[in-house]
């Protein structure tokens, strides 16, 4: 109990004094996970809309694979990305192992199935006649897609939140492909693991509280957009 209080005090003091190291770690967390989420949104939403609307053999199998991917363990992603990005691996020439770019790639791989899966579900949940009706009213294909996405925007915002929440809180892949390098690839989760190992439990708790506050702030912002636009 005493330890948790110490952690709270430490968190308040770290935030109040704008500790430059903690600030850098927090910004990097936001930067890496934010970019990964945006990439996964582009990939996941286009892929998800396609999967939901197109008809082709093997569609169910593909959707099952995507749904399985929603629970992709970060350490597994981390291991594979590591093997691919190593100097002497197939993509070694890129020389991005142990950089924020490598972390973004790993996190985007984790988040994309989540966004895809939720997109498929939300598009398929629209009233079945809607698409035909829109087309019958003379909309082009592009207009039809836009209307469908607009109609499904509330669950799609949930996809953003789920994707972002999934990657900002993961540690397995980040520590493997980023290496937890001070001032370069150290993010909130990997710093928490390290401070715990160092026995600095107060700092570890403080970092966790900052991470929670950050997640809450971003979800609050997205939820407000979501609820404001709720159709009446």
């Amino acid at each position: 109990m005493e330890l948790i209080l110490e952690g709270l005090t430490k968190a308040v003091s770290l935030i109040y004094h704008l500790d430059p190291e903690v600030l850098g770690i927090t910004l990097l967390s936001l930067k890496v996970s934010g970019t990964a989420t945006i990439i996964s949104l582009f990939l996941g939403m286009s892929g998800g809309v396609f999967l939901a609307l197109a008809d082709f053999p093997g569609k169910r199998l593909l959707i099952s694979i995507v749904n399985t991917g929603m629970g992709l363990p970060p350490v597994v992603v981390g291991l594979f990305v590591t093997v691919f990005l190593w100097r002497n691996g197939p993509f070694g020439f890129l020389e991005i192992m142990y950089t924020p770019a490598a972390m973004i790639i790993a996190q985007a791989i984790i988040a994309t199935p989540i966004v895809t899966g939720i997109t498929v579900a939300s598009i398929q949940n629209l009233p079945p006649g809607l698409r035909l009706q829109v087309l019958a009213l003379g909309a082009t294909r592009g207009q039809m897609l836009r209307i469908l996405i607009r109609e499904a925007r509330l669950p799609l915002l949930a996809a953003v939140m789920a994707g972002f929440g999934g990657v900002i809180s993961e540690v397995g892949a980040s520590i493997m492909v980023g290496g937890n390098i001070k001032g370069y690839t150290r993010v909130l989760t990997t710093a928490t693991v390290m401070e715990t190992g160092r026995g600095n439990f107060d700092v570890a708790i403080a970092l966790s509280i900052i991470l929670l506050a950050l997640c809450f702030g971003i979800n609050y912002f997205l939820t407000r957009i979501q609820q404001r636009q709720r159709p009446r």
């Binding site: 945006i38 142990y98 160092r198 026995g199």
Partner: protein, 285 residues
């Protein structure tokens, strides 16, 4: 109208991408140096002091990857690290004999200690030496927590079991955590078990543990750190010049002084003893 609300979101996205693109990155390949090392050098905070000194002096950007000594050497064997700072002498000799390393130089030492609950159910306080202490733990069936991760500490532990003539694997009182030293100490504290630890990590965590030093001072418990430059013959992408610069930095007089003074203010005694230039035999090996 509705679409307008997505414009700020899109702009934010764009801004983040640009931010990422222009953010400072140290990716001049020649200047990157990967140091694979053991967790104890990072968890004790020693590298946080030494790395900035080296970076400032040499202009290299050091990527410190803190893993167990076993994994560090595995990275070296695959050419994924340039220079290693490790503490697993037998494996290091093998690593050198197989031609994976170029120079291996002595840097520093401290010692391992056997810690456990203050009640000392296996009565190892009166043990003659560390092998005897391990023997008493085995005979009493008191819980022992092993790292189980091929780290330098794990290698030392296996050596001690061998010296005691005991095969602990599969015994009910022998549990492997597979975690780093800090985590393993925490598990030992929670379960009131014994474990082998380096003194530095123990001192750093002591406050919250409730474990006591029960055996120490045996020459077998010496914990010796070497620096190894990875041989670029096999993996041409290895940054040999950087590795040499870092190894030279570690044995330099100035660095050795920093190592010798590190931790004295916080723990009352230094965590590491600088040994550059000494013969390993003089340490009692």
């Amino acid at each position: 109208m509705k679409r307008c609300k997505f414009v700020p979101l899109f702009l934010t996205a764009l801004a983040m991408l640009i931010w990422l693109a222009v953010s400072p990155s140290a990716d001049a390949a020649q200047k990157n140096l990967i140091l694979a090392t053991t967790t104890s050098t990072q968890d004790s905070g020693l590298l946080d002091v030494l790395i900035p000194l080296f970076e400032k002096e040499s202009g290299y950007f050091v990527k410190t990857i803190a893993v167990g000594s076993g994994q560090a050497m595995a990275m070296g064997k695959k050419g994924e690290a340039d220079v290693l700072l490790v503490h697993s002498p037998d494996d290091e000799k093998k690593f050198m004999a197989e031609g994976y390393g170029m120079g291996r130089r002595l840097i520093m030492h401290n010692d391992f200690i056997i810690v456990g609950p203050a009640g000392d159910p296996a009565r190892i306080r009166g043990a003659k030496n560390s092998a005897d202490a391990f023997g008493r733990i085995a005979r009493s069936g008191a819980l022992f927590l092993s790292r189980g991760d091929n780290s330098g500490t794990h290698a030392k532990e296996k050596k001690l079991w061998k010296a005691a003539g005991i095969v602990p694997d599969g015994q009910k009182w022998y549990q492997q955590t597979g975690l780093g030293m800090g985590e393993t100490l925490n598990v030992a504290a929670e379960k009131k078990g014994y474990t082998l630890t380096d003194r530095g990590t123990y001192l750093a965590l002591k406050k919250n543990l409730g474990l006591e030093i029960l055996a120490q001072g045996d020459p077998l418990l010496l914990n010796i750190y070497h620096i190894i430059e990875v041989n670029p013959a096999k993996w041409p992408k290895v940054n040999a010049a950087g590795a040499r610069a870092f190894a030279d930095f570690m044995v330099s007089k100035k660095t050795q002084e920093v190592i010798g003074g590190f931790g004295a203010d916080k723990y009352g005694s230094p965590l590491f003893f600088p040994d550059a230039g000494k013969k390993p035999d003089s340490l009692g090996l």
